[in-house]
Symmetry: C2
Subunit: 462 residues, 2 copies
């Protein structure tokens, strides 16, 4: 049996354990500030896989001096980062596998058909906040490593497995990885791309718009100016900016994307009394930044566009909308679509699924921009979840995709990092022998590796 | 000197004490739940005026069974009502003087040029939340009673001075007065009418609209439905209802009012993450109810109008806007413009100010509707404040108007309740003698009442 077939068979035989692992992860409500239990679970898995595990709480006092640091908080007590390093045999290319464990809040509970952290499996899908974004992807990576170990495959290059916090609010977890010195020849992040490959990713920034009105008694509301009514003009105006900015996007990787770099207004709040004219409304949102655009350029676009508001309504001349940049920012990133890692992932994807690989530019920011730009580690994004459900009620992941992604990642690691020759060392156990044989299938032509040792696998996937 | 002139002179001489009293009241931030200190001050004043004072905390358990009870709360611990009864000599008409001490929140602090509870006096105006709505009116009433007492005027009819809580959130304070049995031949509320006289007053009700969207990741926001964008349609739609309802208003008392019965959307809130498409927005507001309209009719208008939303956007067919009636309601009220009390106030107003009286329908609800409808006590509204600043930043009152209103109210009490003949009792002191003479000026023709006793007055206005 080819090693590719063995990896597939390994996934089939470990399906239940893989699902159980995802369930355990999803059942931990690892929203911002509550990541510790999820990270301990990840660290435990990496430890079981005999990786060198590093678990630490990022030092906010150091991070906040970094120009790329953005987070609503500067204390990360109880929110550790985790790294597991699988040292290669030498002579191969290294790779960072990066995934975040933080999840966005569950939103309107009434729209969830069961508990948001249920981990319930129905019709081949596992439900729960974070299933797609991106605990399913994290499990794919763990399964890939575990399958390689289970099959005794030893890689030449290092694999640096990063389980990070804070991706959903600005990337401070991955920044802490970079500050600590982690880098590699390339990186892969299995964010929910729905199995598409993203060589380019948009960045994004959070903004806050403070819209002013003038209070009055609601019964004589014509004596005041409603900040709610004015905010309607502002929302419409900002949506026009989205149109203008997207009209300038011609990158074929965005083909078929109705809004390549969206501006999303995510929160609104204002007024404090039903019978009073509201004097302030605050809007918060994110602006997408094109892969080759700078954050500064996008900021300038917004600033200049808001200045046009006064041409639409004199009120804004007297009371201009206040613009604040706050909280999260994701740096855009761009990797040459001809990059070797992209070719490998594409081919392995097609090999595993018999479907053509789809290359696109990402519709959202990830930590990949930081890796590409700051750590000099070209990063691509490819993962099994789907943004059709990420950040939604009833978020779920197709379990088949999670296992397919695991196969693609395992095969990609072998081709990118290289597979070490079996060493005829004394005392090597049966599994190592099998692995050496299995690993050699691709490199040297197929030999039947025989039955794998169940006991060895179970140790790893306990 | 005529008694009218003496009342004016009394006001001139007690101007500083009147201003000080209003300052003391305004400096108490008597928002909902925090009325106690203001009520103790009011009770103290009424006690100094030798009225029979009744101070009690309304029993929410009793009130909440009443069909006209509306409040966000059912416990009134620390929020007492106050009544002071000035028993008449008999044979005259009784009157309720009603004012509320609760004030709306101060709103955006940045828009206040000094502290919202400063009580600062500048250019003849006293500033602070509640100055116009309606602590200035309360002081006008107190000054009127105090001037009559200071001048030794004894009325035939009873004056029932009601200092209530909860006017700004549904009238539970005045309802508690009615439930306790207080009623009279007529009532006057010095809410901020800017010295106009309101025989009719609109009612109003609070409503809540829950607008649904469908959450999604902001980077693929086209996969979701923004509750913020949908709420813009809802706000515009509700403003159209306001137009439709106001087009049907032809009462000449509303002449010159740009929006007789406004619909005000006072608060908005929704979404919980800048990078997520918001799935819920909640709007809260008040709908004006015409003086002769029922609350039920206005409710039906709103219900039917919201049903039309689905003709504007299919989304609302799938996810109709949820309408809730909550919290405050003010019952509309209508007193025949030919009512005797209206004639008296009008004439006294012109007598004091040399300006023609202006009759209008009120642009907002007051507790007067409850008095008119439930207590069989026809209520008119006339007061010195202005809604141009009520519920606004930098709320203030023209102090001249407060003293003019006090004169009008004093003269109105004399004419409505009747002035008792001086009784030649033994032991009556000089002030009583003066008062009897002063009171007789109007009834029997002028006699010079001579110099008033300052010591007596100071006792009363300590």
């Amino acid at each position: 049996m080819s090693l590719k077939a063995q990896i597939h068979e390994w996934m089939v035989r470990h399906r239940e354990e893989g699902i159980q692992l995802l369930q355990n992860l999803v059942r931990i409500a690892s929203t911002q500030g509550n990541e510790q239990d999820a990270q301990l679970l990840m660290a435990g898995k990496l430890f079981e896989l005999n990786l060198d595990v590093d678990l630490w709480e990022p030092d906010g006092a150091v991070l906040e001096k970094h120009p790329y640091f953005y987070s609503p908080r500067t204390r990360f007590t109880g929110s550790p980062n985790v790294v597991g390093v699988m040292k290669g045999e030498g002579g191969g290319r290294s790779i960072i596998l990066n995934g975040h464990v933080d999840v966005v809040p569950e939103g309107d509970l009434l729209q969830w058909r069961s508990q948001p952290y249920s981990g319930e499996v129905l019709d081949g899908k596992l439900y729960g906040r974070g299933a797609s974004d991106m605990k399913g992807g994290n499990v794919s990576m763990l399964l890939a490593l575990e399958a390689l170990q289970g099959l005794g495959v030893r890689l030449k290059g290092d694999v640096i497995f990063q389980s990070v916090i804070e991706e959903e609010s600005g990337g401070a977890g991955t920044l802490a990885m970079i500050v600590k010195g982690y880098k590699a020849d390339a990186a892969l992040i299995p964010e929910p791309t729905n199995m598409r490959i993203f060589p380019k990713q948009q960045g994004s920034m959070w903004f806050r718009l403070v819209v002013k009105g003038r209070s009055a008694h609601g019964g004589t509301r014509y004596e005041g100016v409603s900040a709610i009514e004015k905010s309607m003009l502002v929302v419409a105006h900002v949506l026009e900016l989205e149109q203008v900015r997207n009209a300038g996007i011609s990158d074929p990787l965005f083909e078929g994307n109705p809004i390549p770099i969206p501006i999303n207004i995510g929160t609104i709040g204002g007024g404090n009394w039903p019978s009073s004219v509201p004097d302030t409304v605050t809007l918060e949102g994110r602006i997408g930044v094109a892969p080759e655009e700078s954050l500064e350029h996008a900021k300038e676009d917004m600033v200049r566009w808001l200045e046009l508001l006064e041409t639409k309504d004199d009120w804004f001349r007297e009371s201009p909308v206040e613009l604040q940049w706050f909280g999260a920012r994701w740096v855009p990133g761009s990797v040459d679509p001809a990059h070797e890692l992209i070719r490998i992932v594409s081919e392995q994807y097609t090999g595993v699924t018999s479907r053509p690989a789809v290359l696109e530019a990402s519709p959202w920011g990830t930590d990949g921009g930081l890796l590409t730009v700051l750590a000099d580690t070209p990063c691509i994004v490819f993962g099994p979840g789907s943004t059709a459900t990420a950040h939604h009620p009833n978020e779920h992941i197709e379990l088949d995709a999670m296992f397919e992604a695991a196969e693609v990642i395992a095969l990609t690691l072998m081709e990118w990092c290289g597979v070490a020759e079996p060493v005829e060392a004394e005392g090597k156990d049966a599994a190592t022998a099998e692995a050496a044989e299995a690993g050699s299938n691709q490199e040297q032509g197929g030999q039947d590796a025989g039955e794998l040792s169940p006991s060895n696998e179970h140790d790893a996937l306990a």
